[in-house]
């Protein structure tokens, strides 16, 4: 088992190493590559190192948009999803509307977000919120609807009501679907965050990339992309860890 895992890891490292080497060789000796667009590795890493304080400030700025946007979307998506999942009459009335609104690409809200909201920050948070809300909301509704009858029978037999029913039965039972929605929402959020920052911000990880792209300083652009990639990887890994932890019971079924 461990040996196989070590083998896979060695394979990954080998492939990444080969790709880096290929880049380095191509950037150094490949006369057909534009050296401005394809700087050598040491330049990229030097740029990354030199701009770390900058990038870190950009990270904090990005988080000040991402955390409220995504956080509010998850909270509202779960709360709304539970409500409509548990109230069939009002759900049947409004579901066609939700089906109409949810597939609209969130970027289409950009003109309205800019026109209606006072600042760039609020517009960005709104955009991230819209993008992240629908997947969480729709998945929560479905998660509640797909709860097995036996689970509900048990809850009814025990006379569970109110908070106990919601938090100890409905929410955990629907949680595999909710996490699925929250994962999609996470990916959407990062795309929307970067889009918002590249076109309107004065700070942030997306802004950093756009700023140096305007000067055709591609070693910094690549350093920014690398940093951005690592941040997204880190947050996604954290998300997966929480998901793995909370859904551990789904892997216990004999």
């Amino acid at each position: 088992m461990d040996r196989a895992k070590a083998g896979r890891r060695a394979g990954t490292i080998a492939v990444v190493g080969a790709l880096l080497l290929l880049w380095e060789v191509a950037a150094t000796y490949g006369k057909w590559l534009n050296p401005v667009l394809f700087p050598r590795l040491e330049e990229i890493f030097a740029a990354l190192w030199n701009h770390l304080p900058d990038l870190f400030r950009g990270f904090l700025s990005s988080m000040s948009l991402f955390v409220p946007g995504y956080g509010l979307a998850v909270a509202a998506g779960i709360a709304g999803g539970l409500y409509f999942g548990l109230h069939p009459r009002i759900r049947r009335v409004l579901m066609p509307l939700f089906h109409l609104l949810s597939p609209i690409p969130p970027t289409m809200y950009i003109p309205y977000a800019i026109a209606l909201l006072p600042t760039f920050g609020t517009a960005s948070v709104f955009l991230i919120f819209i993008g992240a809300f629908w997947p969480v909301f729709m998945n929560t509704v479905h998660g509640v609807l797909f709860i097995e009858k036996s689970v509900l029978d048990n809850a009814r037999v025990l006379g569970l009501r109110g908070r106990l029913l919601i938090f100890k039965v409905i929410l955990p039972a629907a949680s595999p679907y909710i996490f699925e929605g929250a994962g999609v929402a996470l990916a959407f959020s990062f795309i929307l965050l970067t889009v918002a920052e590249m076109f309107g911000a004065k700070s942030g990880m997306g802004y950093f990339i756009q700023y140096y792209a305007d000067f055709s300083d591609y070693k910094n652009v690549l350093a920014g992309m690398l940093f951005n990639g690592l941040v997204i990887l880190g947050i996604t890994a954290l998300f997966e860890k929480v998901k793995h932890r909370l859904l551990f019971w789904t892997r216990l079924r004999p």
Binding site: E148, S150, V151, D153, N154, R156, V157, L158, G159, L160, R161, L164, K168, V169, P172, A173, S175, W249, T250, R251, L252, R253, P254
Partner: protein
């Protein structure tokens, strides 16, 4: 209004009469998507009685249990428990299903605590956890409180479900093939455990099973359903065996084998008539 001696006598006599009836099923019929499943069921169960329901599969035994629990409501007739008509599920009646009574995301202890918390709001969490542990010990699972249902065997899960049922203090226990998914050894062990636990408690039990020997070992009375649909009560057998029972001695008794044959004959008759109805046997044969 003056209370005369006669009204008093009337009241007391009625009260003592009620006392002997725990569950009263009156002319109950049930339909499912336009098809009649149960028809004209009548059954009276005394407090503390252990009644086993048997019948060929698909005869509506589980449906009957769901009606008593209040999970489903009869289309005709009514079910009364302690004189009150059943209109929905209630924690006063505990149900143990075949293998899905527990919430897989809660530990054994939490599965009991959640039921206690609903039943006794305002009590402290610590108190409820201790109570849960007490009942886990009763089913010999005192050390499994922190484990999740997925980490436990089928037999352990059923024991937890029984512990939960008893912990909430119900006096009516409805069991739908609770040992049906277990291996024979575990099954025998749990039968003994169940009898030992309910022996000194005033619990009325309705128990569905396919297993004739299980029925004869556990029951005071065995109710046999006719093959449905629609099913009716085909027979009610009073078991003459004193308690505590000994499995081995029981099997050696004449009556045991007579009753066993009688039940099996009824079950098989149901099975055969069902197969014929579905066209699996074609007497005379229409040729291939």
């Amino acid at each position: 209004m003056p209370v005369s001696a006669e009204t008093i006598r009337y009241r007391t006599s009625q009260k003592s009469a009620d006392y002997k009836i725990k569950i009263k099923v009156e002319q109950v019929s049930f339909e499912y998507s336009g098809r009649q499943i149960l028809r004209g069921m009548d059954l009276t169960i005394a407090p503390g009685e252990f009644v086993v329901l048997m019948g060929p599969s698909g005869c509506g035994k589980s449906t009957f249990l769901r009606l008593v629990s209040g999970l489903d409501i009869p289309h005709q007739g009514r079910i009364r428990i302690d004189e009150k008509t059943v209109t929905g599920p209630s924690p006063e009646r505990a149900v143990v299903f075949q293998d899905y009574s527990l919430f897989p995301w809660l530990t054994a202890r939490e599965n009991i605590v959640i039921a206690l918390r609903q039943r006794f709001p305002g009590r402290k969490g610590k108190e409820l956890r201790e109570l849960a542990d007490h009942y886990l010990e009763l089913v010999q699972l005192g050390r499994a409180g922190h484990l999740y249902p997925g980490q436990l065997s089928g037999g352990m899960r059923q024991r937890i479900a029984i512990a939960r049922a008893l912990a909430v203090g119900t006096d009516v226990l409805l069991m739908d093939e609770p040992f049906g998914a277990l291996d024979p050894l575990t099954r025998v062990h749990l039968q003994d455990l169940l009898l030992r636990i309910v022996e000194d408690r005033d619990v009325t039990i309705l128990f569905v099973t396919h297993d004739v020997d299980e029925a004869l070992y556990l029951a005071d009375r065995v109710v046999v359903f006719s093959p449905g649909p629609p099913s009716e009560i085909a027979d009610v057998l009073e078991l003459p065996f004193p308690r505590p029972r000994n499995r081995k001695q029981l099997a050696e008794r004449m009556e045991y084998n007579v009753l066993r044959d009688r039940i099996l004959t009824m079950m098989n008759r149901g099975l055969l008539s069902k197969l014929e109805e579905e066209g699996m046997f074609e007497p005379g044969g229409s040729g291939i």
